[in-house]
């Protein structure tokens, strides 16, 4: 599929102009799937810019990934726009990496209220603390699992 990527490239250019130092990498994985990597300290400013200036009005999901061989956690916010009809198929991935030994990031519930439950789940599955979250406690695992956060790579399954 070799459609033109002008829309994705224009988006990345606008983001990089606004935050020249804080967006470490930006690329287009495939059509309508751009991604940017942001320093964790500036994630809230970038998110507010995306919501207010570029029209990304909701978050599709929050995912935590455990890159244990590189010693870091990565948190990926997928966001998209519902009010701009031409941008409805575009999903922008906003990534931030934090070291595995001190997993703390800023919560984005004040920007996109829908991420509240996703951040709670990432907290209980990986042990990442979201500062500023209104209610950071276990969501699915109360009474279900008492051990270390289960989605970390050191928690192994019997059939692994």
């Amino acid at each position: 599929m070799s459609h033109s990527q002008t829309r994705e490239d224009g988006l990345i250019r606008k983001i990089k102009e606004q935050f020249p130092n804080d967006v470490k990498e930006a690329r287009v994985i495939r059509r309508s799937r751009p991604e940017i990597v942001v320093v964790p300290e500036k994630i809230r400013e970038v998110a507010l810019f995306l919501r207010d200036q570029l029209g990304f009005d909701h978050a599709n999901g929050v995912s935590g990934v455990d890159y244990n061989r590189e010693g870091r956690f990565e948190i990926v916010y997928h966001t998209s726009s519902l009010q701009n009809k031409e941008m409805r198929d575009l999903v922008l991935a906003v990534k931030e990496s934090i070291p595995r030994t001190s997993p703390k990031v800023t919560s984005l519930t004040s920007v996109w209220p829908g991420v509240e439950y996703f951040e709670r789940e990432t907290f209980e599955m990986f042990g990442i603390t979201f500062e500023g979250h209104p209610r950071l406690e276990k969501l699915f695992l109360t009474d279900n699992w008492d051990g270390p956060p289960p989605l970390r790579k050191e928690v192994r399954f019997p059939t692994d």
Partner: protein, 184 residues
């Protein structure tokens, strides 16, 4: 029932009379139980139990879709007398459908304890028998038999409605052959 006797009550004639009535009532209830457990009365009592097995309103996990389909018009479960009506005290059957997580296992045991005897358990689906597809997951209990006394196991993932109907028939056979006070 006076469990603690004070020294005043030991010589109290009313208390001695109450204790001896207790003993007499206890012996009387044993006689009643023996009489009820004989041939014709036992068949009548079991007949009543068999054709009015009311399950608890519980839909644990994915097998509940097939339980719903069995209650529908094509595979009609009501012709066996199975109606999910009423409260826990009025139910005599609990169908554990699907995967049991540790969080739910505690509540399932509470529900089972609240049912009045006689009560029966059907473990529906592979997950309720042994953990099924999710047997190695961190949050599940591998089978309903770990904390409930199961009467009938229905394999399948999910079992076909006809399999569940056969399970009800097997449970009815089991009740037909059992004693009246099998569970106390």
């Amino acid at each position: 029932m006076s469990a603690q006797k004070t020294s005043q009550q030991e010589d109290d004639p009313l208390a001695m009379l109450a204790d001896s009535i207790n003993v007499w009532v206890g012996k009387l209830s044993e006689i009643v139980k023996k009489v009820v457990d004989t041939g014709p009365i036992r068949s009548v009592v079991n007949w009543g139990r068999i054709y009015s097995l009311w399950p608890v309103n519980i839909t644990t996990a994915c097998c509940s879709a097939e339980f719903g389909a069995v209650s529908g018009p094509r595979h009609d479960l009501e012709r066996f007398g199975v109606l999910p009506l009423g409260s826990l005290r009025q139910s005599d059957l609990i169908v554990v459908e699907g995967t049991i997580t540790k969080k739910m296992a505690k509540r399932l045991r509470m529900i089972y304890d609240q049912m009045a005897i006689p009560r029966y358990v059907i473990a529906m689906g592979d997950c309720a028998i042994s953990g099924g597809l999710f047997h190695d997951s961190y949050s599940i209990v591998n089978g309903a038999h770990e904390f409930l006394p199961v009467d009938v196991y229905v394999p399948g993932c999910p079992p076909r409605p006809e399999a569940l109907e056969q399970a009800i028939i097997m449970l009815q056979e089991k009740i037909r052959k059992s004693k009246v006070y099998a569970q106390g």
